[in-house]
């Protein structure tokens, strides 16, 4: 119910923008952490689109998620500049430290692990991003373990 009122509020604010669908999806994900399936009919109705069209857009873009993420989202850059300084070894370590694969959430619900193809800090890789705005350069397995322990020690 609470979700639905949030969605209605966002639709009212944004539906008249030209090309409103992406701004609406971003606002919903920013507010709720994901785009719930029951949002789709409301969005479709407000924008005069079919539910299939809205679903098609949500699933096309890597950034949008349809299920709630873990308490934190960790994005590991796996693009060429980070590859050249060992991001694949880091990626392997991160998966085993979290005991989960990419595009999945650790069993305790603490961390959702995502791959990202470039964070734009390519002179100081390997790079990771925690949640939306915390960045860490020159990442190593040891530094990652410390960061993970910090994340998990916070309530």
């Amino acid at each position: 119910m609470e979700n639905l009122s949030t969605i209605e509020r966002i639709l009212a604010a944004k539906q008249s923008l030209p090309g409103a669908l992406l701004p609406i999806l971003h606002d919903i994900q920013d507010a709720l952490g994901y785009i719930p399936p029951d949002a789709v009919p409301s969005i479709a109705g407000a924008l005069n689109l079919s539910r299939a069209e809205v679903h098609g857009v949500i699933t096309y873009y890597h950034y949008f998620r349809q299920t709630p993420p873990g308490r934190h989202v960790v994005r590991v850059c796996r693009a060429e500049a980070c590859q050249s300084v060992g991001c694949e070894a880091l990626a392997t370590h991160v998966q085993s430290a979290l005991a989960c694969e990419f595009h999945a959430t650790s069993a305790d619900g603490d961390v959702t692990l995502e791959a990202v193809y470039c964070l734009g800090h390519c002179a100081v890789g390997p790079n990771i991003q925690i949640d939306e705005t915390t960045l860490h350069a020159r990442m190593t397995p040891e530094k990652f373990d410390r960061l993970l322990a910090e994340l998990r020690s916070k309530p």
Binding site: L22, L25, L47, H62, A79, E80, A81, C118, H121, A123
Partner: protein, 511 residues
């Protein structure tokens, strides 16, 4: 005692701990009862020295770096406020050779000013271009840009003035200016640095474009991976509107231009201009067939100028100082400067804005200082995930669009990713195909299916199955000639260059 410090707010500097450095300076100077002003500037782009702080002295700004928060007490003990000597002191910032040897035009204010300070912007030549443009006719502005020789900095290097002229001559009730800030190439960050470090310049460039073609609405489409750039642009749009650089009456002339920042959603192919327009319109970022060109039928079917961040950011300078000044830099048909980005396994990674005409080797060794690992550089990928891998024998190639095309390589957006001799080029070729398979929009068959078949062929080649190299070349030929856009047609660049220049990484699997 008082002093002004500059501590970058650039997100790479933040990733290296710039905020902790700022907090430490505030805490330590409070304890010592020092009167300290902190300006959060953009980054100078000397990333191996970040966090790099600067202190204003009568003799200019003195730099220190790389500074950790724990260095602050010893720096203050050494007389940081007056530019005192310390192991981390780099001397006057403008004299650092890496910076001194550059010709900063599009990033001239980045790292110098507070990105969101209107006063700083004006004090460093901001709005001169816009003011001059407001005194010119649309055709005169287009001619100035055409005469400068400016070509699109996103990668395709199409002459900007010709694109603008097409939009100017199109008649339509509404025209648009769209900035492609979907800087998805690995090994690039010049757009990000500009948006975070000098957003007003991009806004000014887009406003000039609007005057040049008669557009009244603009959009900046920024990738979701750049939260700090999005925040800086949104704040800058508000301030620019308050100051009459955007809005219903540009600097009181009655000419109208509105600008909105739109956040992308993580699809690499949306860096392709027609896919970007689809995305802006609220659809899946699927590539459109051309023609019609966006200049004729672009956003919402209207004539649209769509250019890269650095292209727009080059325009205020061209208007302020004239086409001839810009045109005087460069090499052959590549005029002006390009901000190169030195990245990957490189000792001194960062941003190097220089006129076209240096060699790749000069960038890699004179600026970059060779590999970070200390091992020999073996391969360098220039121009992003769709650019060729270049071997040591091509390091003397001159950095201009034509010289690169002559060796089947591309400059693209100026990203340079260095690899040392531990690189496995078969793996890199496989990654190029895999990336194309992940990011293909799916509209055309060669790209959608060919990339997946490419991964499979390379896997079979790795397993030792004979005849796969011929298959791979055949597949690349199909991708190159049959794809709708650069995603499919340029994926063969990294694949074939790896195969042609590093055959030993492929052939040992065949025996």
């Amino acid at each position: 005692m008082s002093a002004t410090f500059y501590i970058p707010c650039d997100s790479t500097a933040l990733a290296l701990g710039a905020d902790a450095v700022a907090r430490s300076i505030v805490a330590e100077s409070a304890q010592r009862q020092l009167d300290v002003t902190i300006v959060r500037n953009g980054s100078r782009g000397l990333f191996w020295l970040e966090p790099m702080i600067e202190v204003a002295t009568p003799g200019g700004r003195i730099a220190y770096g790389p500074v950790a928060a724990t260095d602050i007490p010893s720096l203050l003990d050494a007389g940081l406020l007056t530019g005192g000597a310390h192991a981390l002191c780099l001397g006057p910032v403008e004299d650092i050779p890496y910076l001194k040897r550059q010709q900063r035009i599009s990033l001239r204010r980045v790292g110098v000013t507070d990105p969101l300070s209107v006063e700083d912007y004006l004090a460093h030549g901001g709005t001169l271009g816009l003011r001059r443009a407001l005194d010119m006719t649309a055709a005169e502005i287009v001619k100035e840009v055409t005469d400068s020789g400016l070509r699109g900095r996103g990668g395709a290097a199409f002459p900007t003035g010709i694109k603008w002229n097409t939009v100017l001559n199109a008649s339509a009730p509404q025209k648009y200016i769209v900035c492609n800030a979907d800087e998805g190439d690995s090994g690039t960050f010049s757009d990000r640095m500009l948006m975070e470090g000098d957003p007003f310049q991009l806004i000014e460039g887009m406003a000039i474009a609007a005057l040049a073609v008669g557009a009244t609405q603009g959009y900046i489409y920024v990738r979701s991976e750049y939260p700090y750039a999005i925040a800086a642009l949104n704040a800058a749009v508000v301030k620019a509107t308050q100051n009459g650089w955007l809005g219903d009456s540009l600097l009181g002339t009655g000419k109208r231009f509105h600008l909105e920042v739109r956040k992308a959603a993580g699809a690499y192919v949306c860096g392709e201009e027609t896919a970007l327009l689809e995305s802006l319109e609220g659809r899946r970022g699927i590539v459109r067939a051309k023609p019609p060109l966006p200049a004729i039928s672009g956003l919402f079917g209207q004539p649209t100028v769509i250019n890269n961040v650095i292209t727009f950011a080059s325009v205020p300078d061209i208007l302020a100082h004239g086409a001839a000044a810009y045109q005087s830099f460069g090499n052959g048909r590549s005029r002006g400067t390009l901000p190169f980005q030195l990245t990957g396994n490189i000792k001194q990674g960062g941003l190097v804005e220089v006129p076209f005409g240096l060699t790749l080797r000069e960038l890699l060794y004179d600026f970059g200082g060779g590999s970070l690992s200390g091992r020999p550089l073996r391969a360098v990928q220039v121009g992003g995930p769709l650019g060729a891998y270049m071997p040591e024998s091509q390091f003397d190639t001159v950095l201009d669009y034509e010289a690169f095309a002559a060796v089947n390589a591309v400059l693209g957006h100026g990203g340079i990713v260095a690899f040392d001799d531990t690189v496995d080029m078969l793996k890199q070729a496989r990654y190029a195909m895999e990336f194309c398979a992940i990011e293909s929009c799916g509209k055309c068959t060669p790209c959608r299916i060919g990339s997946t078949r490419g991964v499979e062929v390379i896997d079979r080649l790795k397993a030792g199955r004979p005849g796969q190299i011929e298959l791979l070349r055949d597949l690349c030929d199909t991708l190159q000639n049959g794809s709708l856009c650069a995603m499919g047609s340029m994926t063969p660049y990294p694949v074939l260059s790896a195969l042609n220049h590093f055959p030993e990484d492929f052939s040992r699997r065949q025996t």
